[in-house]
Symmetry: C2
Subunit: 211 residues, 2 copies
């Protein structure tokens, strides 16, 4: 049944899961679809519809039990599993991501970094093992790494993706300026993020419709 959830609903369910974690940490017990909708920026009807894709979820009064709903979404979407991740490209941004543990929730464990510059690999001081880029496929396969963050220049990213796919990577967050979903969408899920690109998008929005 779950294989028919629309992609935008999957995205919102992930946001709901993150919100539930935060509410749980704050000591809340239940939450209404209206409150969820306000926090993630959609209507309460849309929240109820997204949650309904998961099957029958018990409601209490006008809301959901936070612990139960979180467990339910986590199991259905595989968010309750610890997954290994790596960072490819150890410039300033890549190194920050490699070392910034706060960025990652407990379920994602950064276990390796890669760079094509051997000198950098040999001299880098970090508590996470770093490897030369040519070992990408082997290390990913041996350690069963599922997720990767790429911060290499756009022109180098095609070759990197080939090796990630060869190693069996399942999802990629791509910080290079070249969006990657076109050529690789049969093999791996890619989420593209480019700060300059986001600045462009925001500039276009406030140029066309100033707030």
């Amino acid at each position: 049944m779950t294989d028919r959830i629309p992609k935008p609903s999957i995205g919102r369910l992930c946001k709901i899961y993150t919100l539930l974690e935060e509410l749980e940490a704050q000591g809340a017990v239940s939450v209404s679809s209206h409150e969820i909708g306000e926090k993630i920026g959609v209507g309460s009807h849309s929240v109820r519809k997204d949650i309904s894709y998961l099957g029958e979820v018990g409601r209490v009064g006008s809301g959901y039990e936070i612990v139960k709903l979180k467990k339910y979404i986590g199991e259905k979407l595989g968010l309750d599993v610890e997954r290994k991740a790596c960072v490819v490209g150890l410039g300033k941004l890549g190194t920050a991501i490699l070392q910034n543990e706060k960025l990652f929730s407990n379920n994602f464990k950064i276990v390796a970094g890669f760079d094509s510059n051997i000198n950098k690999i040999e001299t880098m001081v970090t508590h996470i093992p770093v490897y030369p880029a040519y070992e990408l496929a082997d290390v990913i396969r041996q350690q069963a790494i599922e997720l990767a963050v790429i911060t290499v220049p756009g022109h180098a990213s095609g070759d990197i993706i080939d090796r990630l796919v060869e190693g069996g990577i399942r999802g990629i967050v791509n910080f290079s300026s070249m969006p990657l979903h076109a050529a690789y969408k049969e093999k791996v899920y890619v989420s593209n993020f480019d700060i300059a690109g986001e600045f462009r998008f925001l500039s276009a929005l406030f140029t066309i419709e100033p707030r």
Copy 2:
């Protein structure tokens, strides 16, 4: 006329603009809607429709002149204007973004960094001026900064946004774990990006529909 362009089309036009820059740098002169579509991951019909929102753009044979199309999109969407940007939160990620000039195309100039930790501000070595967070609104107003990147913890982001809006900021890239569009969408454009959140989304996608 341009005020009726749908938001997804604006997003794709920004990607087309970035692609045209890359093609121009490679020495290409013209490009077809089919080629553009392949690179940005949509159909050629969609590319032609997006471009048609801008008005009449001359075509040559089966394609577009790169220089002309780039100029056209840039003017209509305000992408040809140099804009000032700042970084709020100077932890590892914020500092990497502040200093990593390659991340930013020439039209976005990082002119200021902010952090609530005064000691950090006083001891930081950087060629970009850094200020204590309480000066946010003043510095943004005085320097006419239009864009901001936020890398502060989620719980601190509400207060920061208030000050950014007070200073007149127009667009925000938000790296904190709390999405911000709900409460502030009347005042400012926000693009949320949270790596842990993206990892969750990718995990959910390959859990539900493995590739």
